[in-house]
C-alpha cells in the first residue's frame, strides 16, 4: 500500500527540486531514507520578518496513507512563533490537519509554512506564551524572534542586550537555552526570569 505514497513523494520531490523557489534558495528538500518516508525540509526566513536571513530545518514524515492524510511536519530548528511550539517544534497549521487535501504537495506545504512565518495567526496559537507576547508586546516579540533566528537559524542580527542577559543567567549556573526561554517568556526582564528559574 505504501507504494502509492512513495511514488507520489518521488514525483513531488522532483517537483520541488525543479521549482523556481529552489532556484531562489527559498525552499529545499532532502531524502533521509530510500523508502521516501522521511525527508528533511528547509525554508528560508521570509524577507521583512524577524526570521529574515535564517534557515529553518523541518522534519517531514510521510504516512503510509499519504496523500490522503497529511505529512507530519515539525520544526527541528528552534523558533519563536505563535503557531509553532518553542518546545517541540509542533506546528499549528490547518492544512497539516483537517484542511489537508490530496491535491497538496511537499512544495505547497513548504510554501505555506514560509507564508506562516510572514503572517502568524495568534488567535489559533500553538504556543500560548509566544501568542500572548505577539498580541500584547509586539515590539518585544520582534526582538525575541529575531534573536532566536540569530542563535538557532543562523540569522545575521546579533542582539547584544539579549546575549548579555543570557550570559548573566549562565554565570549563575543556568543552562543557556533554559535561560533564553525564561527571558523570552518574561519580555527579557532579568528579575522576573530569575525568579521563575529559581522558584
Amino acid at each position: 500500500m505504501a507504494n502509492i505514497a512513495a511514488q507520489r513523494i518521488k514525483r513531488e520531490f522532483k517537483e520541488v527540486i525543479k521549482s523556481e523557489e529552489v532556484a531562489k534558495c527559498a525552499i529545499r528538500v532532502e531524502l533521509l531514507n530510500d523508502t521516501f518516508t522521511e525527508l528533511k525540509g528547509e525554508i528560508a526566513g521570509p524577507p521583512d520578518t524577524p526570521y529574515e536571513g535564517g534557515t529553518f530545518v523541518l522534519e517531514i514524515k510521510v504516512p503510509e496513507t499519504y496523500p490522503f492524510n497529511p505529512p507530519k511536519v515539525r520544526f527541528v530548528t528552534k523558533i519563536w512563533h505563535p503557531n509553532i511550539s518553542s518546545v517541540t517544534g509542533a506546528i499549528c497549521l490547518d492544512i497539516l490537519k483537517d484542511q489537508w487535501a490530496a491535491a497538496m504537495t511537499l512544495r505547497t506545504v513548504l510554501l505555506s509554512l514560509q507564508a506562516l512565518l510572514s503572517a502568524a495567526e495568534p488567535d489559533d496559537p500553538q504556543d500560548a506564551v509566544v501568542a500572548k507576547q505577539y498580541k500584547e508586546n509586539n515590539e518585544m516579540f520582534q526582538i525575541t524572534a529575531r534573536h532566536w533566528t540569530n542563535v538557532y537559524a543562523g540569522g545575521p542580527n546579533i542582539n547584544k542586550d539579549c546575549d548579555d542577559k543570557i550570559r548573566r543567567l549562565a554565570d549563575m549556573g543556568i543552562e543557556e537555552h533554559q535561560a533564553r526561554v525564561a527571558l523570552s517568556s518574561y519580555d527579557w526582564e532579568l528579575e522576573r526570569a530569575t525568579e521563575q528559574l529559581f522558584s
Binding site: M1, I4, Q7, T65, F68, D98, A103, A128
Partner: protein
Amino acid sequence: MNFVVIAFKSLVHNLLRMFGFGKGVMRNDLDIYIKTNTGNTLSISLDPAWDIKNVKQVVAPQLGLAPEEVKIIFAGKELKDTITISECDLGQKSVLHAVKSKRKLQVVPSEQSVIEEEDVGSKPLSETLQDSKFYDQRDEKLSKDIIQRKVHFYVFCPTCKSLRNGKLRVRCEICKSGAFTVYEDPQNWDDVLNSKQIPGYCENDLCQSKDSYNSEFNFAEFFFKCSDHISLGEDDTAVPLYLIKTNLREVPCLACGDICDPVFVFPCKDGHVACLECFRQYCSVRLAERQFWQHPEHGYTLSCPTGCPDSFIQEVHHFRLLTETQYAQYQKFATEEFVLRSGGVLCPQPGCGMGILIDEGCKKVACVNGCGYVFCRDCLQGYHIGECESNVDTSNAAGCVYSVDPSKAASARWDEASKVAIRVLTKPCPKCRTPTERDGGCMHMVCTRAGCDFHWCWVCQTPWTRECMGNHWFG
C-alpha cells in the same frame, strides 16, 4: 504400399480438416433466445456473420409469419435487415425480441435510401458506442484514434462480484418488456439514470400502456448487464458505476500521478481524477478512520479528496470497489451512523452494538432484538433511577442495580476487562458520548467521529474555552 500411405495420409488430413472446421463452427455459434410478444421464447443458434434478414428468415416460420412481417428488437432499437449479428455485440444467451410489425411498411422510393437511413440511426445501443455521446463536447477535439477506442460502461456485477464492463439495455418502464424501441438515443447519464427521460414505443401486446389513451408514447427504462458472464436471464442486471470512466483524455491520477485506465472521476466542479487503485486506498483510509460522511440523501459517502465543495459520491455502490471485508465494515459503519444520526443509540454491551431507535425523552433503553441489556440512554451504563453518576463510580453501581447469573458473570469476564479498560483509558465526548482516548498532545480534544467534530476540554469534559486554553492547555 506407397499408395496405402498416401490414401491414409489424405484420410487423416481430411479428418483433421473436418475436425478443425467443426471446431470453428462450435466457437462461432451464438446461442440466442428470441422472445415474442405473445410470451413465447425460442432458442436458436446464430452465425455471427449473418445479417438480420437471415435471422428473420429463420424465425418467421416458427412464428407463423412471413419474414417481412417480423421486426427484430434489441437494446431499444429495431434492427434493420442489413445489420450483421457481429455488429450488435450480442453475448451468449442474449435475448432478442421478435414482434409482428403492426405498422404497414411504407412504400419507399428506392432501397438505397433506406439503407442510408439505417446506417445513420439504427445501430443498437450497446457497450461499444463508438461515438462520444457520454462525454463532453470537448472530447470531439481529441484525435480520431482515441475516439475509436471502445467507450465502455462500467458496472458492479453481483454475480462476478467485481468491476466489469457493462452493456446498456432498454425495457418498457411499465411492463418491463424488452420489446421496446426508443424514439431518441440517450445523450448523457441523466437520460439513462433518471426515469421518464427517453420516450419510446412498447411492442408488448400485454403491456398495460395499450389500454391508456396514448399507447404510442411510453418511457424507456435503462438498465445494465455485465458483459463478462453469460446472461442468466432478464433479471441478471448490474449497477452502473457511472463515475468510473474510460480515460480518453489521459488525465493523470491526482494521488499517484500515473495515467491509468479506467479512472474514477469525482463529481466535483473540476472533475478530479483518481486511478482505481488510489480510489480504493482513499476509501480504505477514510473507512479505517471512520471519516465517511452520513449524507441525508445519498447515504454514507465521501467527497472529493481535494476538498471540493458539493462533491459527494451519490451512488454508494461505487464503494463496492473495496474488498468484501471492507465493504461489510462500510455497511456496518453506515448503519451505525444512520442510527446515531436518527437519535438512536448503539447497545454499549461489548460484542453487541445493536442499533436501537428510541423515543425522545425515554431514558430506559432495552436491547430487545439483541443481547437484552437494559441501560441508561445518557450514560450508557446499566439502567438506574435518578441522575447519572460520574463514570468513575458506575462500576459499583451497575452491580447493585441488578443481580447477575454467576455462570454468565464468569463467562463475561474478558468483556468486563475490556470494558474496564475502556472506562479507565477513555472519556466520552461531551456531545456524542463516543469513548475517546487521548494519546498525547494538549488537552484540546476534537471529536473524530464523522459529523460530530466537537471541540472539548479533556480536563473539564466541557466545550473547549479560552479559559481552558489559559489554565490547563498542556495539563
